[in-house]
Symmetry: C2
Subunit: 133 residues, 2 copies
Amino acid sequence: MTSTTDKQTTRQTGQRRAIFQALAKDKTALTAQELHQHLTGVGLATVYRNLQRLAEQGKVDTIRRPNGELAFRVCGVGHHHHLICRSCGRVVEVHDCALEDWSRKLATEHDFSAIEHQTELFGTCGACANKTA
Amino acid sequence: MTSTTDKQTTRQTGQRRAIFQALAKDKTALTAQELHQHLTGVGLATVYRNLQRLAEQGKVDTIRRPNGELAFRVCGVGHHHHLICRSCGRVVEVHDCALEDWSRKLATEHDFSAIEHQTELFGTCGACANKTA
DNA sequence: CTTTGTGCAAAGGCTTTGCATGCTT
DNA sequence: AAGCATGCAAAGCCTTTGCACAAAG
């Protein structure tokens, strides 16, 4: 079922490169629209299509903003969470996850299986706190 | 600033009652559209407006589904999280939160303040696991 | 009677999709 | 040359908003 010649169709195009690079450089998580604004000569639909693909391939992480928008970010490998400054949008990857044990415990207690958690942490970073003060 | 006679404008209407009751009875978190379907004689806009208000007043909790839809639920008081069956949608309130200490620690480590976390846990409940098996 | 709530339909914002053309391989 | 990728515009969803009418207090 996973062996039918599996053509890993993914052509190298300028737009694709541009999108990924822009994402890789940015310290914040960007939405398709933001990305589209920052780029030139890349259609919005193309941005959406590529982000979707990158996410499927696991090359970027998705972050759901409080208002429902979906943002994307190039991340390190392994399970981790995001500590996001609600002012400047800067993202800090947190690899120290406290939820593993917790969710295992909850699984037992409530007879649930295959528990997944998707947590975003929103706060104010030091820099922004100073600006405001 | 919080003392200008503060009219707690909130009239009692049949629709309002119907929406809240439907929500209170349901074991799952419902979206405005789902709620609108289940009810009769209540406009969709009215459902949206009331849910929004209820959420602002803290009378219902909001749950963001993986696909971005916003669902609502009448919950117990105090900080807690939701363990949601991805099959039947049943929601279990989890009052035992493991993230408090963790986020405090992260705040210190990364110089962030006012960290808030919004975590939803998705899994498969025992009943549904059996059905599938 | 005054003010808030409701319904309907229009409008908005984000995302996806159809189709013809262009570019990668 | 063959097929995926792109662009543009249209269409889809979910949600919000404007306005006239109905209802609550």
